[in-house]
Symmetry: C2
Amino acid sequence: MIARLVAKLPLSPRTILGPGDDCAILAPSPAPTLVTIDSMVEGIHFNLNWGTPEQLGARSLTVNLSDIAAMGGKPAACVINLAIRPGLTMPFFDRLYSGLRRTARESSVDVVGGNVTAASQLAITIALLGDSPARPLRRDAARVGDEIFVTGTVGDAAAGWRILAGKLRARGPARRHLLSRYLVPRARIDAGRRLATLRPAPAAIDISDGLLQDLGHILERSRVGAEIDPESIPTSKAYNELMGSDLSLALGGGEDYELLFCARPGHSERRLSRLLGIPVRRIGRIVRGRGIRLKGGAMPGIAGWDQLRSGN
Amino acid sequence: MIARLVAKLPLSPRTILGPGDDCAILAPSPAPTLVTIDSMVEGIHFNLNWGTPEQLGARSLTVNLSDIAAMGGKPAACVINLAIRPGLTMPFFDRLYSGLRRTARESSVDVVGGNVTAASQLAITIALLGDSPARPLRRDAARVGDEIFVTGTVGDAAAGWRILAGKLRARGPARRHLLSRYLVPRARIDAGRRLATLRPAPAAIDISDGLLQDLGHILERSRVGAEIDPESIPTSKAYNELMGSDLSLALGGGEDYELLFCARPGHSERRLSRLLGIPVRRIGRIVRGRGIRLKGGAMPGIAGWDQLRSGN
């Protein structure tokens, strides 16, 4: 079935052997290989009523692309494990793969193989390979004094999810923007690759779990702390319309797939925005110690705030 | 959690960056890269009452190792996606990973990363990377006149599964042997690597779906047919004790993870057995046409026989 679904996919010269054998074969690359795996499970990461099958297919690959982006890498090839449950039809899977194929094509990824298994829950698990840049963007590279930046805007996807789940209400362009940020996320591949040209290479992570939590992963691996200025957190017009000054989703919500990175002082927002091809905002700095201190004190309604603050 | 579970694993110099970042980083290899993905789903591929968590962990990796073996490759690194359901404890996962780690160590595989997600069914999905030999063992390489060989014995795992499922009864050493073939399969990595030194490179596949069905995959990709002599199918003493002359499980059962390959005529069983370090039996030959012809006609009780015969 995988073979049929991916048959229409053109493969790059990098792929020596595509789907249909025990393994795929990829030509050697002079660059080190990046490897990541991620899974989307029905009822946990998606709900079939919320978007189209094409959007689901695209999003399944995008969450992996975002991991490559967060290392500054270039995505190359993926294998797909599809767990299918009763009640889903072949036209559904054709549409799912159509979305996946489109995202693969747009990001120059070869779908080189896969596996289909029966299950009680629909799940799409993708392992993605990519080429590492000369200096990959590692979580353990943050140093005291670094400035912390974030691309784009945060909180939109979390707001979109809440609208779909019936926990928030929105209308018109704001609603469309927020739903789209959740259902059709974009991985910041180009921005990540350009970021990896900075020296020394910044620490970076993609915002999948939420800004504070993902920043926490960098702090833990780098054994440092951070100060964040909530007033500098970039939010969209749609987010502001819906949430006002409530930053809980911007700081605690996930799935925006923006990049958060820590660079040595001296880079202006303007220059970084021009380098990455996307608006970049300075939101704080790396300090000695552990955990995250929010300028102005604790903010109500931010998930995980107490836990993250412990250690300060 | 993955980070904690795989923390005890030593990594080879090949792994530049292991678990804990957005991606793992592997040093470049001069050989082309083999990639495969496979999944074990509770209730479909395993039952927690049938074996130990260690055996389940080991088997989850072995089914992937077997795909690398079937290409003649050398396994190198894997990433693991663990879908966990309510009701399973941390000691269970410790034991699962202990079995997985042991198999990884024995086969020189680095566990370089992973992902954990909630789900309603336990599932272990592993993507495995390896180094391709100079001439990989492809399914599309069978030619008319090739002789068909199989390593070890077939049907044992299918018999073991039926004993566990209460569909067959066995006692003593025969029972132990058959259960062990199902619960603790071995991937024929060394045999596959040695097989890849033959010229021209044989067509090969691992027997995961059943001998006739897997042979069918080679025939389809190579656009040829096959004649099989049922009397030459290698079965174990335990299998013979239980099944007598009934070859249905040897021909139609799967999960033995033996290798089936097609080589140009002229290789004796004895020399191939010595080369591969495991008994090898000649079971038939590649012929013009499509499908599989069994010497002596159709055999009762062989799953898929009619379907496979179509075309002859």
